[in-house]
Symmetry: C2
Subunit: 269 residues, 2 copies
């Protein structure tokens, strides 16, 4: 390590929010304004660059979703490994730079934050974490379906359904509302796993892909018919809400949410 200990170098992990640039927090935007260097994931809105035109931006996107446009100007950086990211953080902060590590959603939820925190702690580099809006909250806002409901919804579980080798696992559904973060093409497999775990076939499921973006899509299903959603959401990062929080508040809400393209797939009883 060539880190100059005692310099002003530090790393600020910032949650970019689920999509569009204006879903970042004011604090996150302020940290971007003070950055020398920004390491970002491919899913972040290119418009975020306007908050830190003074900084060098490096795309370290390594997510497996396909078909997601991004602002990368460094071809080949898509699959930058975790070790390389850790090394970049330690090197630049160690040399005195203020580094913002920009992560989609919230850094503490499925953000692989601990691996980067560990590397920086070992190098003795100061860190800060600025929270962000995680995708489940954006999906609930877009569809105007609260994740918790009085009486029937006292708990909500956030689960990643994807394993490192792009396989899929699903639990038995112990919370009133279960939210899965996954790839759209896996929806059929998720439906089968949840049915096998004991969820009834008529439980409501709300599927939102690209939550928080202008091209967000939302569709309604019953668990038994979830496979029908796979084509609609294929190739897009997807949030699947199962149980109490998936139900409509009412059938006639006039909404100004961007989920105008809402699809109503026929319910399968």
């Amino acid at each position: 390590m060539n880190a100059k200990r005692g310099s002003a170098g530090r790393v600020v992990f910032v949650g970019a929010g689920p999509g569009q640039a204006d879903l970042i927090t004011l604090r996150g935007a302020e940290r971007l304004r003070a950055a020398d260097l920004v390491l970002f994931d491919s899913l972040a809105d290119p418009a975020l660059r306007a908050f830190a035109p003074q900084a060098r931006w490096i795309d370290v996107g390594k997510r497996g979703f396909r078909g997601v446009p991004h602002g990368s100007s460094e071809p080949g950086a898509e699959n930058t490994g975790q070790a390389t990211i850790n090394a970049l953080l330690v090197k630049h902060a160690g040399e005195g730079s203020v580094v913002v590590r920009l992560k989609g959603g919230d850094p503490s939820v499925f953000g692989r934050l601990e691996e980067e925190l560990e590397a920086l702690a070992e190098a003795g580099i100061e860190t800060e974490v600025v929270p962000g809006v995680t995708a489940a909250l954006a999906a609930a806002a877009a569809t105007q379906r609260p994740l918790t409901r009085r009486g029937s919804g006292r708990s909500v579980a956030l689960t990643t359904a994807m394993t490192h080798d792009a396989g899929l696992v699903a639990g038995a559904g112990h919370a009133d509302t279960e939210v899965f973060y996954m790839a759209g093409k896996q929806l059929g497999a998720l439906g089968r796993k949840l049915a096998a775990a004991g969820w009834p076939g008529d439980v409501p499921v709300s599927v939102v892909s690209r939550a928080g973006w202008p091209d967000e899509l939302a569709s309604d299903h019953r668990l038994a018919g979830l496979a029908e959603a796979a084509v609609l959401h294929a190739g897009r990062p997807t949030v699947v809400v199962v149980g109490a929080g998936a139900g409509k508040i009412t059938a006639s809400i006039p909404s100004s949410s961007p989920a105008r393209a809402r699809q109503r797939v026929l319910p399968t009883p």
Copy 2:
């Protein structure tokens, strides 16, 4: 109802984030700038008023936490009932006002959002929901303890431990990390309920009260010793993280987080 249908009146539900004003999203701040009227809860940072000096602000705070300072200028509004809030929303939006309903944290998580959405849908009033940072994410950021961990933490459950009559319930802990939103004085009771539900006495517990505020407090415990935290966090809205996400990344992180007042209560094995 005296609602004038077809007017420009609408209600925007905005998540204020967990505490300090700069944890609101840019979109949330922008909606405040366009508001004629803001209905807010007592827990919101009074500094948020700077985003909407043109608006009339009404405190409809109705939370049960004690000892929390707030910016209310209307004594007696503390216990405004849900029916009154619904009526205010319908009346003012129906008369053509742009109303922001500002809620602490995220509106879709323990925000009693559905009751207000239902009332507005029945009245035919347009609504929008702008997500925010929920307290669990702020607590994880402040303590630099990711809620999900590779290998041991694939799911996180958010649960309210408080019932409407200020009683306490706790589940059996099916997610890798369980986060309870509650009042600090109930920590001893929560510990006993979790132990009775089968959690081992040595499971790590991270307690953060007033997450996201300058006077935030954080403490480390084992489940068997959780009662010791009750005095420290009494009278403050509290987030309790149990399981995988409660563990330290390392004992030696140099941190610039505001959780400087971190207490290290002796672990009880």
